[in-house]
Amino acid sequence: MKKALLLTLIVALFAGVMPTIAQDVFRVAAVAPSATNDLAFSQSMYDALMAIQMQMGEDNFQFDFQDGTFIVDDAAVALREWAASGDYDLVIAHGSQFGSVVEELAAEFPEVSFAWGTDHNTFGLDNVSAYTAAADEGGFVNGVMAGLMTESDVIGVVGPIEVGDAKLYVDGFVAGVGASNPEATVNVVYIQSFSDVPLATEAAETHIANGADILTGTAQMVVGPIAITIENGARWFGTQASQADLAQGAGVGFQVYKWEVVLSDIIANIQAGNLGGQSYELTLANGGLVMEFDG
């Protein structure tokens, strides 16, 4: 009887304690430069955090997300507030323009874990993780397919500015076309903006006028070129997130970023007491880059 009572007591004690251990929620906060539904870079991170929440359960994983912080200082305010609050296990700065801010904050708050990308640089700090995407890999796959599909042997690319994973993707795409169809011409236009939809749209029109029957592009302004692709009966290859819905059947292949692959590693590390210091990369091999096909 006494034993039973003790047992019940112990069970009750554990029952009382266990949930609080389980309720040790992993909390993440992230900034991203564009909208969470931009069908591009920012959406890829938002989708990844949602995926992790699905995987770990809402009781174990929660996140705050501030989108539209294309102004670096707006991101800096949010990042500092989160870091100083001490409420977050991981603070993510999604955008390579936030590097300077992360470098400064991570040094000032060594007990807070930061992740940022796309970049390799952890600034030699133990509490910074850096992540990149081997966007050239999916670009290559898209390029190979585009090279095989094109009938006019002309393919158009609408890029933003010639940097970051935009450049990686475009370079990979051009190489892919070259591998599968050396006859094909790839015309590349960088419009010098991530967001100028009218100019991106007219760049796509110019590609079509010069004989392109397949288009691709990267950044949030591709929504314009996609519309032109549909209108002219051409085909579209995309990257960063799936644009299949917007492309209404004109889409062929999409390289989708699965940041959750990298984030799970970072989270596991932090839970093991290791705040950072490593650089990660999404690849086709590690499942961080996934090709999705439509039609």
Partner: protein, 423 residues
């Protein structure tokens, strides 16, 4: 009530009524944004609460408000000069970029010269020569860029609205080109980064600012920097310049009446160029201070606002809100800084897009300029009262002596009274 007290009370009331339109404009903006929030199913009180908290709720929030206000104040001082000189300068964005490019280059070059490479990583005291040279460089570049628009207007009749809009676009592309080329950080040259310069050495940075009150000092762990003090000091300087020097008077004279100034022997073209030169210079300072005090490197995402945070536009708003008076621009900038920083907090906490605040900012501008008509009526009435009855009329009667709805009777009088009031 004795006469002196009555006079004092009346003058207080008068002043209160002067501010009333601005307050009413704010109140209207508050009402409209509440309606919008309710339409979006958001409790307006909660939203405004978070805005307030985000703007001044903590030491860090207050510091960020002032950080945001700093470039807006610089631009606002410049815009004040331009608008007082009759030049509508829409080119703040481009002038900021020009200033930042030049100032950053100066800081990088002098920083390398004075601090050997191996020491660059170790903290060294800030160097007055480097920082001052960079600030001057930024001022001059912005001034030349703004002055170019003034020159085109004075000698080729190119409207400054047109040229400054075009020059904004050109400046962004110049920045993209230089940051991806000769100014690109050698450390990241192979890494496909967002284009950016190398980080400034400590000696080339504007120091952070803390107030020696309490322990640790107030603002010690924030991003507040000395740029704010520079801006406030220059606001006072420009106030004196505009209203206490003959050059300042000539600028304002051209702004108020170009033809009359010309008859009075003022070199109108020179004043036009000068006011644009100074306006551009202050925008240039805004740009270089953002780099020296805050970001420590210049970087671009290809859009102007990515670097300027639209301070080139917000400075116009602040200048206006400050009554086109550099001193008035100080609280006005702080107000808009708080609004912008608070809006971000609101977005973080309850998911209302910060674009709401962009819209509300627009409304505030419209309401404030619209209510100016009432201020002008009052000040004019007061001026005419002083002219006619300097001694006898008890001032406390003036408030109700004529109906406030009377239209002002001519446009010539209103500018004069403005200038008097401000001076």
């Amino acid at each position: 009530m004795n006469q002196a007290a009555g006079t004092r009370l009346a003058s207080w009331l008068n002043r209160l009524v002067d501010f009333a339109p601005v307050l009413i404009a704010l109140l209207l903006a508050l009402v409209v944004s509440s309606v919008l929030l309710v339409a979006l199913n958001v409790d307006p009180l909660a939203a405004f609460g978070f805005m307030l908290e985000g703007a001044v709720g903590t030491e860090n929030a207050t510091a960020e408000t002032l950080v945001k206000a700093t470039p807006i104040l610089f631009v606002g001082i410049g815009i004040t000069i331009a608008f007082r000189g009759g030049m509508i300068n829409i080119g703040g964005e481009g002038q900021m970029i020009a200033g930042a490019l030049a100032g950053t280059t100066v800081a990088l070059v002098l920083g390398d010269l004075r601090v050997p490479a191996e020491m660059a990583k170790t903290p060294g005291a800030f160097d007055l020569i480097i920082v001052t040279s960079a600030l001057i460089g930024g001022f001059l570049a912005g001034a030349l860029y703004g002055g170019l628009a003034g020159f085109l207007k004075a000698y080729f009749g190119v409207n400054e609205i047109l040229s400054t809009i075009m020059l904004n676009q050109i400046a962004v592309q110049m920045m993209n080109f230089l940051l991806n080329g000769i100014l690109l950080d050698p450390a990241v040259a192979g890494f496909n980064n967002i284009p950016k310069t190398a980080r400034l050495v400590t000696a080339a940075q504007l120091p952070r600012l803390a107030l020696p009150l309490g322990d640790p000092w107030i603002f010690a762990r924030t991003r507040l920097h000395w740029g704010l003090i520079v801006a406030i000091a220059l606001a006072i300087v420009i106030y004196i310049f505009l209203w206490r020097t003959s050059l300042g008077y000539r600028i304002r004279a051209v702004g108020e009446n170009e033809r009359a100034s010309s008859y009075a022997g003022i070199h109108v073209k020179r004043q036009m160029m000068l006011s644009m030169f100074l306006a551009g210079g202050f925008a240039g300072l805004a740009g270089v201070v953002q780099v020296l005090g805050l970001q420590y490197r210049l970087q671009t995402d290809g859009s102007p606002a990515g670097f300027t945070a639209a301070a080139g536009f917000n400075g116009i708003v602040a200048a206006l809100f400050g009554g086109l008076n550099p001193i008035g621009a100080i609280p006005a900038s702080a107000f808009f800084g708080g609004l912008l920083v608070g809006a971000q907090k609101m977005q973080r906490e309850i998911g209302v897009p910060a674009s709401l605040i962009t819209a509300v900012n627009g409304l505030i501008v419209v309401f404030v300029v619209s209510s100016e008509i009432f201020i002008l009526q009052r000040s004019k009435r007061r001026v005419s009262l002083q002219e006619t009855n300097t001694t006898l009329n008890p001032p406390d009667k003036s408030g109700g002596s004529d109906t406030p709805l009377n239209p002002p009777d001519k446009s010539r009088g209103r500018r004069d009274s403005r200038a008097q009031e401000a001076g």
